[in-house]
């Protein structure tokens, strides 16, 4: 602890009347015993209290995480077996069953969403990264993407409902995929733009200096070099989409049957893990509730693994 602060910082203790006065010895009224750290002084005590408060609050904030994980392992782990991956959802009062169709539905709809949003997102990012950062159009695209990130996911569902379900008269995996793709798009655009911008300018110059056209520069240098970062973004977007429920509630709805029952058809209601959890959680049957917990465990594992893969990619990114 420094004693001078008590003299200099007027907010803490009123200092000597005029520190620049000619004949004043600034240390005249300083008792050097004050150098010792003492909890009796309010500022030390407050410091300690606040530090402990902040530490406690941070730890408290982590309790839900551990609680969720433990509950998933405890309640979900009990019923986890091969059956849940292969069987269909049980009817009320029925025992056993699983949610194989929901896993398949989630995978298919996320793949569909990825198919739409990845090309759209990466090419938009290429455009953004090559235009000047301060150009108004690029700014508008970036702002739009940022707004879309904070967009309520249910509105993406409302949009897909209005465009696809109302128009083509039915709930479908396609409508679900479109709704999810809207949620994936901004994440992909923003992370891919960042990744492309992080490619060292000297590499771009080298390609241009050899006479590469802008397209060749993009495909042969920028995208390969930025690939780890772009993949990170894609993985994050997929993880987010896989866990989304709200946009699927009234676009893909739910189904108790396999998607490819009677031919592979994406234009029929489709089950997904997230909607299954929602539906089963509210049912008054223990079997369904148990299955909801197993489904939650599977979903969280799916999301976490995707996230971890994404983070593994991000470590391979090249910086300037």
């Amino acid at each position: 602890m420094n004693t001078q602060d008590a003299a200099i910082n007027p907010r803490i203790t009123p200092g000597p009347p005029d520190p620049v006065g000619p004949e004043v010895n600034p240390f005249a009224d300083v008792d050097f015993c004050e150098l010792e750290r003492s909890l009796r002084r309010p500022r030390t005590l407050v410091d300690l209290l606040l530090s402990n408060l902040v530490s406690a609050m941070t730890m408290l904030a982590l309790i839900p995480l551990f609680s969720v994980v433990l509950m998933l392992l405890w309640r979900g782990g009990q019923r986890l077996s091969l059956d849940v991956f292969t069987q269909l959802p049980p009817a009320p009062m029925e025992q056993g069953g699983g949610f194989g169709n929901a896993i398949l539905g989630t995978l298919i709809m996320v793949a569909l969403a990825a198919l739409i949003s990845i090309p759209l997102g990466i090419l938009s990012a290429v455009y953004l990264a090559q235009s000047r950062p301060e150009s108004p159009f690029a700014g508008a695209v970036r702002f739009g993407a940022k707004i879309l990130t904070g967009f309520p996911s249910i509105l993406a569902g409302v949009f897909a409902y209005g465009v696809l379900v109302l128009t083509f008269g039915g709930y479908s995996a396609i409508a679900g995929g479109v709704a999810l793709s809207i949620l994936m798009l901004p994440t992909i655009i923003l992370t891919a733009e960042d990744a492309i911008r992080m490619v060292p300018a000297k590499m771009r110059d080298a390609a241009i200096g050899m006479g590469a056209t802008p397209t060749q520069t993009t495909w042969m240098v920028l995208l390969p070099t930025a690939m780890p970062g772009i993949l990170t973004g894609i993985m994050l977007a997929i993880a987010r989409a896989a866990g989304e429920t709200a946009p699927l509630l009234f676009t893909a709805l739910f189904s108790n049957y396999w998607l490819f029952r009677g031919g592979f058809d994406l234009k029929q209601p489709t089950a997904s893990l997230a909607v299954l959890i929602y539906n089963f959680a509210g049912m008054p049957f223990d079997n369904q509730v148990d299955l909801a917990w197993v489904a939650a465990l599977v979903l969280v594992l799916l999301v976490l693994v995707t996230n971890l893969i994404g983070q593994a990619f991000s470590r391979r990114q090249i910086h300037e």
Binding site: K202, D205, A206, A207, G209, M210, G211, V221, P224
Partner: protein, 284 residues
């Protein structure tokens, strides 16, 4: 089958070269004729009255104090300045008699014939092999890529050091090796001219020596223009030297060519007072 076609191609190339050199003797062996009256970045006048002929199979060095615009002039020669917003200039740059700034000319095409090695070694984040093969792919080269890569690496004196690790990343090499890799990358496509923008400024003395030896070897096949602020380097390698200086008379910092000539003459018997002072080290 392929061998014969290659042999044919090679003999054709020789004939081409012969015809070309005939053409070039007529124009005094000047490959790039650069004439810059005024060069601006937005409203800032960076260079004026600079005219340098780059001669075939010679090393032409640009020397001068920092900020005199020597890199700017070099970057004009393959239109790298096009990337700088607000760049414009009055004058002309002729490459083999053709104006490269003519509206009908594609800048990317120009850069394929006039390669460039940059101040900072800038290999791509790919394998050594792919770095060198990059230019070949760019030009959709149909011939034997592996041979060309080996040839380029040999000519840039890097082959012995990397032949066992061609699939390793180009970024794993040391600074001097990276720069030689960049030279290999640039010469793999056999460009007409090689522009080098202070290629040794980021390297240690030993690596610098190697690059200098390399330049002297390479000039038998290529035409080289180099920017350097190391006078000894220019003296050691250059056949012709242009000295640029900064004119601050009208308040700006505008570079211009003070003197151009054979290196021997510039370094031993400069005509202009500024050149004398600079070479004697009276200012930097």
């Amino acid at each position: 089958m392929r061998n014969t076609t290659n042999a044919e191609k090679l003999s054709k190339a020789r004939i081409d070269t012969a015809q070309r050199s005939a053409k070039e003797t007529a124009s005094n062996g000047v490959v790039i004729d650069c004439n810059i009256d005024e060069l601006y970045y937005s409203t800032f006048k960076a260079v004026r009255d600079t005219s340098i002929p780059v001669k075939k199979n010679r090393i032409t060095a640009f020397i001068g104090p920092s900020g005199c615009g020597k890199s700017t002039v070099l970057r004009c020669l393959n239109r790298m300045n096009d990337l700088v917003r607000g760049f414009r200039f009055k004058g002309h740059v002729h490459f083999r008699g053709k104006d490269i700034y003519h509206p009908s000319v594609d800048a990317t095409a120009v850069r394929r014939f006039i390669g460039m090695v940059f101040q900072q070694p800038n290999p791509f984040a790919m394998s050594i092999y792919n770095n060198v093969a990059f230019g070949l792919r760019l030009n959709s080269y149909k011939g034997p890529v592996a041979e060309k890569v080996e040839d380029a690496l040999k000519r840039s004196a890097l082959w012995d050091e990397v032949k066992d690790k061609l699939q390793k990343s180009g970024l794993s090499l040391s600074g001097g090796q990276q720069q030689r890799l960049c030279i290999a990358r640039a010469i793999a496509t056999e460009p007409e001219v090689l522009l080098m923008d202070e290629p040794c400024s980021a390297l240690d003395p030993i690596a610098t020596r190697r690059i200098e030896e390399l330049m002297v070897e390479l000039k038998t096949r290529y035409t080289i223009a180099i920017v350097t602020h190391n006078l000894q380097q220019a003296q050691r390698v250059a056949d012709n030297t242009g000295f640029l200086y900064v004119d601050t008379s009208d308040g700006g910092r505008c570079g211009y060519l003070v003197e151009f000539g054979e290196s021997g003459q510039i370094f031993n018997d400069p005509r202009e007072q500024y050149t004398k002072d600079y070479i004697r080290g009276e200012f930097s």
